[in-house]
C-alpha cells in the first residue's frame, strides 16, 4: 500500500513500439502491482476471488457477460477489472482535513489522476455559497439543503437527475421514481454519451434496443466482425470469448483506425499456453479504416452481396428470412447498388479488393456476428451505420439463429440495466402508466432533458439543481469549457460518489458531496445484509454483493441516500414506501417486478445462481418496432472529409484508464509512457503537415459556430493511425467536441471524426490541461 500522492506525478514522455499482443504475464503483474499499491493483500484477495463469481461482486468496470455458473474461472476478471475494483477498495481516505487544506479552485487545477489517487470519500461535505472550501455537514443537513433547494424551484423541470452506469438496478429504479414523483423526466444518463446511437438504430430496425447475442453465440459463430472497438483495453474479457470462438474455427475481421494490440493477438493469462506460448491470433483480417468509414464499408459489402446473388441466384441471400420477417428490402437493394466505389475508397481508405476478400469470408460463413462499440456510436452518422450493420446481417439471415446477431459492446457495468429500470428522459406511456398503477401518482408525460440538452439548459439558467448518481459528468461530457460553465451556473450541484473527481471541483454556488458505499462493500440495512442487481450487455440480470467493510461508518448506500432525499423532498406527497425500500431492497424488486416488463418473480429468479436472462424478442421471431417486421433501411452515403491541412480526430481511452479516470500516465499497449498529452498521427500525415516526433502542438477543432476550441500543448507521436486521422486521449480532448456536434437522430455527442488542425504550441511553458 502506498500513501496518496501529495504532488502531481511528473510527466515525461517516452515512446516505445506498439505491442502486438494483449494480456499475458504483464497483465497479471500490472493488475497486482496497482492493486497492492491501493490496498492490502487480504482485501485484494477477497475482491479478486469473489469478483464475477456467483454470489460475489459484479465488476463495476465493463458490462461484459459472465460465463454460466460452473464454467467460471477461479480468477474471473481482467487486468482492468482488477485495477478498477481495487481502486475502489483503496485504503486511502479523504477526510475533512483534506478539504481544509485544498480549496475548490486548488482542486480544480489538479489532474484527473491526482484527484482519483487521493482515496475514498468518507463523510458528507458541503461547499456553501461564496466559500472556497468544502466543509463537513451532517447527512440530515446535507439532504435538508438539497430538499429545500429542490422544493424552492419554480418548476420540477429546473432540476436534473443524472445517472452513471455504475448505479444498481435498485438505485436506478428509486432515482427515476423519485424524479418522476417530484415532477420531472429530466433523467440524463451516461448512455446518452456511449451507445445511444445503437439503441435508436436497433429499436427502429429490430424493435429492441439491446444486443441479440449471448456468449454461446459468440463461441459458435463462423465469422465475427469487431468494428470500432478495442477489446484489449476496454472489455478484455471479450478476448476470452473470441479465443474460444477461434478454437471452434471462427474467423475474425477487425475494422479499426488503429491496429490495437487486443485485435491482433491474445495471451490468455488463465492458461499456461497464454503465459508461455504465442497466444491466439485474434483478427484473421484487419481493415485499417479511416474514422467514420464504417458506414461506407458495410454499404459496399452489402452491394457486393447483392451482386453475388445476381451472379448465382438463390445461393447468397436468405430469401426465406427476408420474405417472411423483413420489410423494405427492394428499396434498400436499389439504394445499395448506387454506392460509388471511389466514394467508398475515399471514406474508408480501403481498396475494393480488400472489401471483396471480406465478402468472400462472409459467403463462406453460415453464422455471422457484428460487434461494435464507441468507435461507431460516437460518429455523426452512427445511427445509419448501425442500421447498415442490421441490413448486412439480415441479407443472409444472420439474426435470430444460434451463432448470429448484433452485439453492441457496452462499457459500464449496469448501463443497460439503468435504462431498463426507466432512466431515460423519453420513457413511453406504457412504463409511466405502470408507475401510476403501482404507486398511485401521475408521472409527468413531457419528455425531459438528455445530457446535451441538460448542459444547454444549465448554461441558460433553465436548470438550477444538478444531482448525479455516481459518475464524473463534467469530464464525461463534451465541450469541456461549456460544460464547466454550465455546472458553475447552477445554484446547487450534488454528487453521490465514492471518490473525488473533477465534477466536485467544478460546481454550483452550493455543492454537496454525498459519499456512498462502493460495490465491494457490505451493505447492511434495517432488514439485514443487502445485495443489489445489475444487467450485463447480454441481458443477464444477476446479483452483486460486496464483502469488504465500508470505507467509513458514515457512508450510506446509493439506495439509502435517494430514499432519504425522497422522504425529505416529497414529504408524503406520494404514497411510496421509501423507508421500506431503504430497509429491504427486496421490496424495491417486488415493485420492479410489477412495473418493468420481463422482471416477473424478480426476487425469486435473481436469487438463482447466475440470475436470469431477459428474452430478446428478435430471437423469438418478434420485431416490436412500428412495422412489426425487421426493417431494411436505405442510408445516405457519407464520406467523412477533413479540409486540406486538417485531420479527423478520434478521442480514446488509454489502457491504464477506466472511463474518465486514468490510473497512470501510461498506455503500454500503444507504447506511450509518462504522459497523456500526446496526439497520435500517421507518419505520412506528419510529413505532409511539416511536423515531426516530439513537436508540441495545440489541437484546434473546426466547427460551424466559429468558436475556437483548443487543447494545448500536446506532443506529436508518429503512430500507425489510418491515413488522414489522429487520435488523442479522452477526457483531455473533450474540450474539442462542440456541444452541438451530435449524432443525427440519437443526439449523442460525436467524440469521433472531429475535424482538427495541429498548430505549433507557441508557449510551451503553459500548463497542460488538467
Amino acid at each position: 500500500m502506498q500513501n496518496s500522492p501529495g504532488e502531481e506525478p511528473e510527466t515525461s514522455l517516452s515512446v516505445t513500439p506498439p505491442k502486438k499482443w494483449a494480456a499475458g504475464v504483464p497483465a497479471v503483474v500490472h493488475a497486482l502491482e496497482y492493486s497492492l499499491e491501493q490496498t492490502s493483500p487480504r482485501k485484494t484477495g477477497v475482491d479478486l476471488l469473489t469478483m464475477n463469481q456467483v454470489g460475489g461482486v459484479d465488476c463495476p468496470g465493463c458490462a461484459w457477460a459472465d460465463p454460466a455458473p460452473g464454467r467460471r474461472h477461479r480468477n474471473e476478471y481482467c487486468e482492468n477489472g482488477a485495477k478498477h475494483i481495487n481502486d475502489e477498495a483503496t485504503t486511502r481516505r479523504i477526510t475533512a482535513g483534506f478539504f481544509r487544506e485544498h480549496s475548490v479552485s486548488d482542486l480544480a487545477a489538479r489532474s484527473d489522476l491526482w484527484l482519483n489517487q487521493q482515496g475514498r470519500l468518507t463523510e458528507p461535505m458541503i461547499k456553501r455559497p461564496g466559500s472556497e472550501h468544502y466543509e463537513p455537514v451532517s447527512w440530515s443537513d446535507a439532504l435538508g439543503v438539497l430538499a429545500q433547494e429542490l422544493n424552492g424551484l419554480a418548476s420540477p423541470d429546473e432540476a436534473v437527475f443524472y445517472t452513471s452506469g455504475r448505479a444498481s438496478n435498485e438505485a436506478a429504479f428509486v432515482l427515476q421514481l423519485f424524479a418522476r414523483a417530484f415532477g420531472t423526466n429530466n433523467l440524463p444518463d451516461c448512455s446518452n454519451m456511449c451507445h445511444e446511437s445503437s439503441g435508436f438504430a436497433l429499436s427502429e430496425t429490430l424493435g429492441t434496443g439491446k444486443g441479440t447475442v449471448s456468449l454461446d453465440d459468440l463461441h459458435h459463430a463462423d465469422l465475427i466482425f469487431l468494428v470500432g472497438q478495442n477489446p484489449g483495453s476496454n472489455h478484455p474479457r471479450q478476448l476470452s470469448a473470441l479465443e474460444e470462438a477461434k478454437r471452434n474455427g471462427c474467423r475474425i475481421v477487425a475494422v479499426n483506425p488503429l491496429p490495437e494490440a487486443g485485435l491482433r493477438r491474445f495471451k490468455n493469462p488463465q492458461k499456461p499456453s497464454g503465459l508461455l506460448g504465442r497466444g491466439t491470433q485474434i483478427a484473421d483480417r484487419f481493415l485499417h479504416i479511416k474514422p467514420g468509414g464504417d458506414l461506407a464499408l458495410f454499404q459496399a459489402l452489402n452491394r457486393l452481396l447483392l451482386e453475388a446473388e445476381d451472379a448465382a441466384p438463390g445461393t447468397v441471400l436468405d430469401h426465406d428470412f427476408i420474405d417472411a420477417h423483413t420489410t423494405g428490402f427492394e428499396e434498400f437493394a436499389q439504394h445499395a447498388r448506387t454506392i460509388d466505389w471511389d466514394d467508398v475508397h475515399t471514406a474508408t481508405g480501403l481498396t475494393r479488393a480488400e472489401i471483396e476478400k471480406v465478402r468472400d469470408e462472409v459467403l463462406n460463413s453460415e453464422r455471422v456476428i457484428v460487434c461494435w462499440a464507441m468507435g461507431i456510436t460516437q460518429h455523426k452518422h452512427a445511427v445509419p451505420t448501425v442500421r447498415e450493420f442490421v441490413n448486412f446481417l439480415m441479407l443472409r439471415g444472420n439474426l435470430g439463429r444460434a451463432g448470429t446477431g448484433a452485439c453492441p459492446v457496452r462499457g459500464h457495468s449496469n448501463v443497460q440495466g439503468d435504462r431498463t429500470m426507466g432512466i431515460w428522459e423519453q420513457m413511453p406511456d406504457t412504463f409511466l402508466d405502470a408507475l401510476r398503477r403501482e404507486f398511485g401518482f401521475d408521472p409527468p408525460r413531457p419528455h425531459g432533458l438528455n445530457s446535451v440538452n441538460s448542459i444547454k439548459a444549465m448554461r441558460e439558467g433553465r436548470v438550477k439543481v444538478f444531482l448525479a448518481l455516481a459518475g464524473n459528468f463534467v469530464r464525461a461530457a463534451p465541450d469541456s469549457e461549456v460544460t464547466e460553465e454550465a455546472m458553475r451556473s447552477c445554484r446547487l450541484t450534488a454528487h453521490i460518489s465514492t471518490k473525488l473527481n473533477r465534477s466536485h471541483t467544478v460546481c454550483g454556488d452550493t455543492a454537496l458531496i454525498l459519499p456512498t458505499l462502493g460495490r465491494t462493500e457490505r451493505d447492511v440495512q434495517a432488514d439485514g445484509e443487502q445485495f443489489v442487481t445489475v444487467e450485463n450487455s447480454m441481458s443477464e440480470v444477476h446479483t452483486s454483493q460486496g464483502r469488504l467493510e465500508p470505507a467509513s461508518p458514515l457512508l450510506l448506500s446509493e439506495v439509502a441516500i435517494l430514499c432519504r432525499l425522497a422522504r425529505r423532498t416529497l414529504d408524503g406527497k406520494a404514497d411510496i414506501p421509501w423507508d421500506k425500500f431503504e430497509g429491504d431492497y427486496g421490496t424495491i424488486r417486488d415493485h420492479i417486478s410489477r412495473v418493468v416488463p420481463g422482471f416477473h418473480d424478480f426476487n425469486a429468479r435473481v436469487s438463482r445462481p447466475g440470475g436470469f436472462q431477459l428474452p430478446n424478442p428478435v430471437n423469438e421471431g418478434v420485431f416490436n418496432n412500428k412495422v412489426g417486421k425487421a426493417l431494411f433501411t436505405s442510408n445516405e452515403h457519407v464520406v467523412p472529409r477533413a479540409p486540406e491541412g486538417h485531420l479527423l480526430l478520434q478521442t480514446l481511452r488509454s489502457h491504464d484508464q477506466w472511463n474518465t479516470i486514468p490510473y497512470t500516465n501510461n498506455d503500454r499497449y500503444r507504447g506511450i509512457h509518462g504522459s497523456r498529452h500526446v496526439v497520435l498521427v500517421n507518419p505520412a500525415d506528419l510529413t505532409e503537415l511539416g511536423l515531426a516526433q516530439g513537436d508540441h502542438v495545440d489541437l484546434v477543432s473546426v466547427w460551424a459556430d466559429g468558436s475556437e476550441r483548443r487543447a494545448e500543448n500536446f506532443e506529436v507521436v508518429p503512430y500507425p493511425a489510418a491515413k488522414g486521422s489522429a487520435a488523442a486521449y479522452y477526457p483531455e480532448t473533450n474540450v474539442l467536441v462542440p456541444l452541438d456536434s451530435v449524432a443525427d437522430i440519437s443526439n449523442q455527442p460525436t467524440s469521433k471524426g472531429i475535424v482538427v488542425r495541429l498548430e505549433p504550441t507557441v508557449d510551451r511553458t503553459r500548463p497542460t490541461p488538467a
Binding site: A68, G70, R71, D189, C190, S191, N192, M193, C194, H195, E196, S198, G199, F200, L202, S203, G207, T208, G209, K210, S214, D216, D217, H219, H220, N248, G249, D320, F321, H325, G397, G400, R401, A402, G403, V415, Q416, R419, T420, W424, Q426, M427, P428, F431, V596, P597, G598, Q613, L614, P615, N616, P617, N619, E620, G621, V622, N624, S746, Q748
Partner: protein
C-alpha cells in the same frame, strides 16, 4: 422396472414424410446411424411437452447432468459419466409441436445431429423415435469408426428413451410446455406477442 428391450417393442404408426398443408418440411438428417423407438403410455401432447422441457432431462437421464436453455433455439448440455463432464451447445433447427424436433451440435469436434419424432399410436400413447448421426473429426473419427461405437451410441439412446418412458409415465402429465415452432433455426412468430417477448422495448443507450 421396464425391461431393457422395451424400446424395441413399440409399434408406431408408419413414419413418413411430414407434411403440413401440402408443404414438405426440410429434415436435416439423411443418414441414420442410430435409430431407436419407444412407445410411451401418455398422449402425444404430454410426451412432446415434457420432452421439450429440456432443463428437466437431468431428472431422468443417466447421462445428462445439466441443460441450459439459452433461448428457444439454443441449449447447452452438460453430459458425463463418473467424474467426466463435457458441455456442448446445441441448435434446434426444426420444431413442430406434438410432432417433430431436429437439432445439431454447434461444436466442431465431435459434431452430431439428430431428430425426434412423436407419433400418436392406436392405443392412445406416443411412439417416440430418435435418430442420431455422429460425425467425429480427427482422432475421434478413427476411434469411433467401428460398429462397436455405433452400437454403444444406440444402447445409450435406447437407455435414455427407457428412462424417459419411466419418467413421463410415472408423472402422468407434463411439467411445462413451450408450444412454439422453429424453422431453419429461427422461431416462427405466429401469435400477436409470445409471453416471453414481453420485455422493455425502449432504446437502450
Amino acid at each position: 422396472m421396464a425391461p431393457e428391450n422395451e424400446a424395441q417393442q413399440a409399434v408406431p404408426n408408419a413414419p413418413g414424410k411430414r407434411t403440413d398443408g401440402g408443404v414438405t418440411r426440410r429434415r436435416p438428417l439423411r443418414e441414420r446411424h442410430v435409430e431407436e423407438t419407444i412407445e410411451v403410455a401418455v398422449p402425444v401432447r404430454t410426451a412432446y411437452n415434457q420432452w421439450t422441457q429440456f432443463k428437466t432431462f437431468p431428472r431422468f437421464s443417466a447421462l445428462v447432468h445439466a441443460v441450459e436453455q439459452i433461448r428457444p433455439t439454443m441449449t447447452a448440455w452438460t453430459i458425463g459419466y463418473g467424474p467426466l463432464r463435457r458441455r456442448f451447445a446445441v441448435e434446434i433447427l426444426e420444431q413442430d409441436p406434438d410432432a417433430y424436433l431436429a437439432w445439431r451440435g454447434l461444436e466442431q469436434n465431435p459434431s452430431h445431429q439428430g431428430e425426434v419424432e412423436f407419433r400418436p399410436t392406436e392405443s392412445g400413447g406416443t411412439a417416440i423415435t430418435v435418430r442420431m448421426l455422429l460425425t467425429p473429426q480427427g482422432a475421434a473419427r478413427i476411434l469411433t469408426r467401428s460398429s462397436r461405437a455405433t452400437r454403444l451410441t444406440a444402447r445409450l439412446v435406447r437407455g435414455e428413451l427407457v428412462n424417459f418412458k419411466r419418467f413421463i409415465e410415472g408423472l402422468g402429465q407434463e411439467g411445462g410446455a413451450w408450444r412454439g415452432t422453429i424453422r431453419n433455426g429461427r422461431v416462427q412468430h405466429d401469435h400477436p406477442e409470445p409471453p416471453r417477448s414481453r420485455v422493455a422495448q425502449w432504446p437502450v443507450g
